[in-house]
């Protein structure tokens, strides 16, 4: 059963990777990046030890890979990772990845020399420690502003240093700082501000992708739906002590995500018919197709 969840997870990973292949191609992103996503993802799940990953290895076909996946930047199994200069749209820059700003500005000639070299950061991913990377945007790279969700604040705080170190025209500092002050209270504006920063940092890169906000808000939704965490974060720390005793931590660890067919109550007796669940208990993941619950309130 535990083995089962590893098998299912692995098939989900492979399914997702297989199905977004085209999207990656369409976006002009190298297949090696897709491979990197596969490896990082798998590595992270392994690192969580929620499932007996390795025991399921033999059953799996195709894409599954073991060993030092996380440290390989150029993975193998895809037919042929095309060299980066195979993207005609990308202006010739001396960093390897087809990154967003280059793509976004593909039709415009941008002089990257004026702003210092963006660091490509192609160094191997840090694996097994998901939080470290995301919570510390420690680079001088202006693209660090393209982090997601809650990290926006951090990015903003680092703004002046980033600008200086990347060697921007000092004239850019003024408006940015002003915005920084203006938008503290509104999440939406924060994102907007982020775009402005991004824009200026890249000297009129044509259109910042609106999808960032879509991506952001969807993440918020996902989190907010069940925890109401997002609103709490914004307004005050008083809201943190929610009714469910979030402080115990235990509560967030043991969780079942599922669908319900029916929930009924008679007096204080509750009956739930659940299905398609992922249950995370005591650091292990269990999957179930059907679940029946009888509880008393």
């Amino acid at each position: 059963m535990i083995q089962n969840s590893a098998t299912v997870y692995r098939s989900v990973i492979n399914d997702v990777i297989e199905n977004v292949k085209k999207d990656f191609e369409d976006s002009g992103v190298d297949e090696s990046v897709l491979r990197m996503l596969h490896d990082t993802w798998e590595q992270k799940i392994k690192g969580l030890r929620v499932t007996a990953w390795d025991s399921g290895d033999n059953n799996m076909e195709g894409l599954s890979h073991n060993g030092n996946l996380g440290t390989s930047v150029m993975p193998t199994p895809y037919s042929q990772p095309p060299p980066n200069d195979s993207h005609p749209k990308v202006p010739s820059c001396d960093y390897e990845a087809a990154n967003l700003p280059t793509l976004a500005s593909s039709t415009i000639n941008i002089d990257f020399n004026g702003m210092g070299k963006p660091q490509p950061h192609l160094s191997p991913m840090k694996n097994g420690n998901s939080n470290t990377m995301s919570s510390t945007p420690s680079t001088n790279d202006p693209q660090v502003f393209f982090t997601l969700g809650s990290h926006l604040d951090v990015s903003l705080q680092h703004l002046p240093q980033n600008d200086t170190s990347v060697g921007h025209d000092p004239a850019y500092h003024q408006p940015i700082k002003q915005q920084e002050v203006d938008v503290v209270y509104s999440d939406q504006l924060k994102i907007k501000d982020d775009r402005l920063v991004y824009n200026e940092a890249h000297m009129k890169a044509p259109t910042p992708p609106p999808q960032q906000s879509a991506y952001d808000s969807s993440r918020k939704e996902t989190r907010g739906n069940e925890s109401y965490g997002e609103e709490d974060d914004i307004n005050s720390d008083l809201d943190d002590s929610d009714d469910e005793g979030n402080n115990e931590g235990e509560e967030t660890q043991n969780i079942i995500l599922c669908l319900y067919d029916k929930v009924t109550r008679t007096k204080n007796k509750w009956k739930c018919q659940l299905k398609d669940g992922i249950m995370s208990v005591n650091g292990r993941d269990y999957l179930f197709q059907k679940g029946n619950g009888d509880f008393e309130f």
Binding site: V8, T222, G291
Partner: protein
């Protein structure tokens, strides 16, 4: 295109994916738009996998329902000292939270079989 719940993004496999995508965005390997597509695909893949690949039955009994909430078609339960049984395996836990979305999605023509 059918809509899939984003619920499972909160699971360990979903969080692992989100973290991985975050890293790729931070290192400018992909843009958020592409990350969004990956997540949408994940919603689909995990939903289908749970529907088709999992056959385990679970029962939760004798728990004390500490909190219940029904909002926007989502049930949230906090249960203390439930007695879980998955097939032959007993799982003990002090407290667990259940987040459940409606199996019958709005607009879905045929209700899901039970």
């Amino acid at each position: 295109m059918t809509h899939y719940y984003e619920l499972y993004r909160r699971s360990s496999i979903g969080m692992a994916l989100t973290d991985s995508l975050d890293e790729l965005i931070q290192t400018s390997h992909i843009d958020p738009q592409l990350a969004m597509k990956v997540l949408l695909q994940f919603d689909k893949s995990i939903t289908e996998a749970l529907e088709t690949k999992v056959r385990t039955k679970a029962t939760f009994k004798a728990g004390h329902l500490h909190t219940y909430r029904f909002c926007d078609e989502v049930w949230t339960f906090i249960i203390k000292n439930p007695n879980f049984k998955l097939e032959n395996e007993q799982v003990h836990v002090d407290k667990i939270k259940i987040v459940a979305c409606n199996a019958k999605k709005p607009g879905e023509a045929e209700p899901t079989k039970n």
